[in-house]
Every structure is written in C-alpha cells, then in structure tokens.
C-alpha cells in the first residue's frame, strides 16, 4: 500500500473570482477504494474533472498514474477508466458492440478485444447476452456492464462518479462486490457518492467542504475523531459549516 497512484498538492481551480477547488492535497494508493465525498457545490466534480484530464488546474500540482495533470491531460485519459452517474453505454448497440467500441477507443487490438470481452462476459455471467441490445437489459445489469466496460483496457485508476444513483439496495450491494473485486486485483478506485453507507465500504474517505478537503482518513478513524456513530453523522458535522449553497 505504499505505491502512490494519484498524488495531488495544492491543486486549485478558479473560475474568475470564484475558487471552486482551494489548494487540496492528498495521495491515493494502489488498490485502494478512495471515497471522495462532499455536498453539491463543494468542488468534487471540478476536482475530479482535473484528475481526469478534462480541465486544467489554475495552480498546484498533481499526477495521475504517473502523468502530470497540468500538461499531460491526454496521456492521463489513456490510463484511467470512467463511469458517470448517468448510464452511459449505447442502448441501441449490443453488449458485444459496446465492448468492441470502447476497446477500439482505447486502442486494443482485435485479438486483445476478443480475449478481454470473453473474459468480462464470463465474469459478469453475460455470455448468453452477448448480442442482446443493452437497452433491453435491467438497470442493475447495465450498471455492472458499465463498470466492466470502464475497466476493459485495464486502467490503473477507475473514476466512478456517483455510480449507484437510482439503483436499488440489492443491486448496489452487488455493484460494490464488483468494485471490491477490481480493487483486490490491483485497480485503484476513486469514487464519489451521496450514500453515506457506501462511504463505509471505502478504504479511505475524504470529505470536501467549500472547495477544501476537511477530513481524510479511514471511515473507522473518522468516526472516532468526530465521536460519531456513522459516516452520515461525520458528514453532517463537517457539512454544517459549509457556506456555499447548492
């Protein structure tokens, strides 16, 4: 757990006078499930966009999978996987066609694609659904497929932006099992969520308030530190001081 995959020092992003992300610093280790929490407007999304190479920081340094966030945005994209809160595969393409597309996007060869797709289909128990249109699958299955496809190119880090929004508890549970499995296999998971019970599943959790990281530790130690019974309480204690609204 000493191998650092994401390293951020004083990362700042301003939009005009507004400081969306204010000098945040943290490290994320390989194989860790890193929970990135914060109320709406706390700067989570902005920070995540910088880590994904989608926008450039105003100041500060950071590296993701060995690539610099200031100048290697395009290289970062090749080493990360991304799954958004909205289901974002193509409903009018089949399971296999979706896999083929994203494998193609990440530059996998035909042979690699076939192998990797077979592997993922077997793991998801989806072999019989290979040619089913994704639109016809139940939501829980889609979510799992989405995650599988986000890891099709074996990225070092997977960014999950509120991956379980609108999903029932049973499916959420199954989804988290997949996340654990991936983390065990050495993939680093960077996840944002609104569900505080999910925060308990993370190896370490950071809580952002008003563009600043206010707490960062394992869920157990955070609860101890704030003398709280659950992560939900910890979050409330921290978020109470927030000045930014929605």
């Amino acid at each position: 757990m000493s191998d650092i995959v994401i390293s951020v020092r004083n990362l700042t992003k301003c939009f005009g006078d507004f400081v969306a992300v204010d000098h945040i610093s943290f490290d994320v280790y390989r194989g860790e499930i890193f929970g990135f929490l914060g109320a709406n407007g706390a700067g989570k999304t902005t920070a995540m966009r910088m880590l994904c190479g989608l926008s450039f920081p105003t100041s500060g340094e950071g590296s993701v999978a060995g690539c610099d966030v200031q100048c290697e945005g395009e290289r970062i994209k090749r080493h990360i996987g991304y799954m958004s809160q909205r289901f974002s595969l193509y409903n009018d393409l089949s399971v296999w066609e979706n896999m083929d597309l994203f494998a193609g996007i990440y530059g996998l060869s035909k042979k690699e694609t076939a192998e990797r797709a077979a592997e993922l289909l077997a793991k998801l128990d989806f072999v019989s659904e290979r040619d089913t249109l994704v639109g016809a699958l139940p939501l829980g299955w889609k979510q799992k497929l989405s995650f599988a496809i986000a890891t099709i190119h074996r990225p070092e880090v997977v960014f999950l932006d509120e991956p379980t929004g609108g999903v029932d508890p049973v499916t959420r549970r199954q989804f988290w099992e997949m996340i654990y499995e991936a983390a065990d296999a050495g993939t680093t998971i960077f996840v944002t969520t609104h569900y505080m019970d999910e925060a308990e599943y993370c190896s370490r959790v950071s809580i952002m308030v008003d563009g600043v990281v206010r707490a960062l530790d394992t869920p157990a130690r955070l609860k101890q530190q704030f003398a709280a019974g659950s992560m939900d309480e910890v979050f409330r204690i921290l978020a109470r001081g927030a000045r930014r609204g929605e």
């Binding site: 989608l54 974002s88 083929d100 597309l101 193609g104 996007i105």
Partner: protein
C-alpha cells in the same frame, strides 16, 4: 490509436442502421418530394374551364371559340349569357368567361386595319388564385388573337425549358432542402443526443480527440447523403427528364461541397442546442424557414421585398440552388457558376471554422 476512429465510424453507422424509421424517412422523403413536386404540384396552368358569352355567333366568334376548344389548356364549357356569369364563376364551374362584343367581327376588322376601336373581347376571370388567373389571361389572349398572330409583333422562344416544366425548377430546390434536412438536422440531433444521454461525457474522458468524435459522426451521414444525392440525380434525369446539360460531374461535386456545408451547420446547431428537441426546432425553424422562403426555391428572389432580398444573400441554399439550376437546366459548366461556388466555399469554411471553435470552447 488509428483504429479508434474506425470504431467510431462503425458505431455511428450502427446507430443509423438500427434506427430503421429514420433511415426510411431519409430515403423516402427525397422520393416523395421529387414525385410530388415533379408531377403533382406544378405552377403550370392546365385544364382551364372557359365559358363564352356571344350575343351574335358570327363566323369570327365561332372561329375563336373553336380555337379555344381545340387547345389542350382549355376546356370549353359552352355558351352562357350575361346574367349567369357571376354564378358560374362563383360556383367554380368555370374559371374564365370570354365575352364577345355584339359587333365582334366589325371591331376586329377595324382593329386589324389600324382604326381606333373599342375592345372586342372582355375576359372575366376568377382571380382567387392569382397565379392561375394570370397564366390563364396570358393563354387566352394568345389563343384568341391567334388569327392575327401572323402579323404579331413578337416572336417568343423559351430557351432551356421550352415546355416550361415546373419540375425542372423544383429539382434544385428539393436538393437544397433535403441535404440540409439529412445532414444538418440529423447530425445535430445525433450529437445532442449523446450530450443529453450522457455518453458524450464518457467519450470526452476517453483518449479520443473531440474532433475525431465529430468527424466520425459526420462520415455515415455524409455517405447516406451521397446515396440520396445519386438517387435524386437518377430520379431527376430518368423520371422527370431534367436535362443536366451542364454535366453531372459538376453538379455532383458542387453538391458534395454543399453536403459539407450542411454537416457544418448541423455541428453548429449541436453546439447551441442542449436538448434533441431544441436541436430539431432550431434546424426546422431557423434553417428550414429561410430555405423555403428565401432561397428562391418557391418564390423568385426578385419578387421578395428589398429587406428579404438582402437577408437571402446569407442563405447558403440560395447560392446552391442558383448554381444547380444553371447547371441542370441552362447547361452552364462549373466554371460559369464560379461565383456561386466561391461563395459556398467561403460559407463552408466559415461555418466549419466557427462550429469547430465553438465545439472546442464548450469542452473546457
């Protein structure tokens, strides 16, 4: 990284092929429009129903009426009297009534010998449709004066479209309209759909460059449009008999330029619109209306008010239709319509530049 572009083209093609209904519409609309405008809708005036009022059926009168009855454009409905004219026109049983003067022969003779005389014939027309009435007047005058035409002052020759087929005129207009429909509307909707559904987000986080995503999107639509273009040209040549005397190659290459322009317009719309409905509305209202009204497709530009004539200079379709008309019907070569080509080219470059810039700005 090379094959990720192909993956995209494949994906876009699959989207289009899966969407059977849209496919069908894209192929059917041109055919329907061509047939509709080619055969059903025409500005030619046919089958004008004419009645005659003649107090005195002299030889001269009968001669004139016979010429009317023989003419293909007219259907002679028989003689009537002064009192029923209004009722006949009102009921729509006739479109025009020819009233001969009582001393028709004498008046014609004095007119022929250059003596001053009062009119020999009165034409009464149902002008509720201005175009029909106007054309009918011209035809009636021509036919009724037929006897005197030997000494007519004018000799008229209609060049390029001697039968005055309106279909010739419509084909370029339909082309101008359809490519905007297929390229601009469909690409914009398809780009905006990805934004709306959320897939665009995932694509932007991937290592594919945004401009590649866009170009990959354009390629299948470009291919479809090429098929539609070929289809239209075939229909125009063999079904409607449009001469295409300026050379098919020229028409084709100019159309390709216009396709690129339409695709760029679609991209521009997609950078403005946030939802598919908005994209559809912008394409329909902001682009279709000017094209229908101001491109010269339906109404001659010269007939527009000065203000709209100026606005029409900005409508790309105006230049495209103008050039295609010249090449298809007048037999002009590409070189002869160079002005239109240059204008279209500049417009394409401008729109493409602006939309690519806007697209990139949106990403940050």
């Amino acid at each position: 990284m090379k094959n990720n572009f192909l993956s995209f083209v494949k994906k876009e093609s699959l989207h289009i092929l899966r969407d059977r209904r849209t496919m069908l519409i894209v192929v059917l609309i041109p055919i329907v429009l061509m047939v509709l405008f080619g055969f059903a809708i025409s500005t030619e005036v046919n089958d004008i129903k004419v009645a005659a009022v003649a107090p005195d059926r002299t030889d001269g009168v009968r001669d004139a009426v016979e010429r009317l009855a023989r003419n293909d454009y007219f259907t002679f409905c028989g003689y009537t009297d002064n009192r029923s004219i209004d009722a006949l026109l009102r009921s729509g049983k006739t479109d025009a009534v020819v009233v001969f003067a009582a001393d028709f022969d004498r008046r014609m003779q004095s007119a022929a010998s250059g003596l001053p005389s009062s009119p020999a014939i009165q034409l009464i027309l149902d002008a509720s449709n201005v175009n029909t009435a106007g054309a009918a007047t011209a035809y009636l005058q021509g036919v009724l004066l037929g006897a005197e035409s030997q000494q007519s002052l004018f000799e008229t020759r209609m060049l390029f479209n001697p039968q005055m087929k309106s279909a010739f005129n419509f084909v370029p207009g339909i082309m101008g309209l359809i490519f905007i429909l297929v390229c601009a509307m469909m690409t914009s909707v398809s780009i905006v759909r990805e934004k709306e559904v959320g897939t665009m987000e995932v694509l932007l986080v991937s290592p594919v460059r945004p401009f590649k995503i866009i170009f990959a999107k354009m390629i299948p639509y470009f291919a479809i449009s090429c098929c539609v273009l070929i289809l239209i040209l075939l229909l125009a040549r063999y079904l409607l008999g449009v001469p295409m005397s300026g050379g098919v190659a020229g028409i084709f290459s100019l159309s390709l330029l216009y396709l690129v322009l339409s695709l760029s317009l679609g991209l521009l719309v997609s950078t403005i619109a946030r939802t598919q409905v908005a994209a559809l509305l912008i394409s329909a209202m902001v682009m279709m209306m000017p094209i229908l009204m101001l491109s010269g497709m339906l109404f001659p530009i010269e007939n527009l008010p000065k203000f709209f004539q100026t606005v029409s200079l900005l409508v790309p379709t105006r230049w495209y239709i103008d050039a295609v008309r010249k090449m298809m019907i007048q037999g002009a070569s590409v070189v002869e319509v160079w002005q239109d080509c240059v204008i279209l080219f500049c417009m394409t470059a401008l729109v493409l530049g602006v939309s690519l810039k806007k697209f990139n700005d949106k990403l940050e």
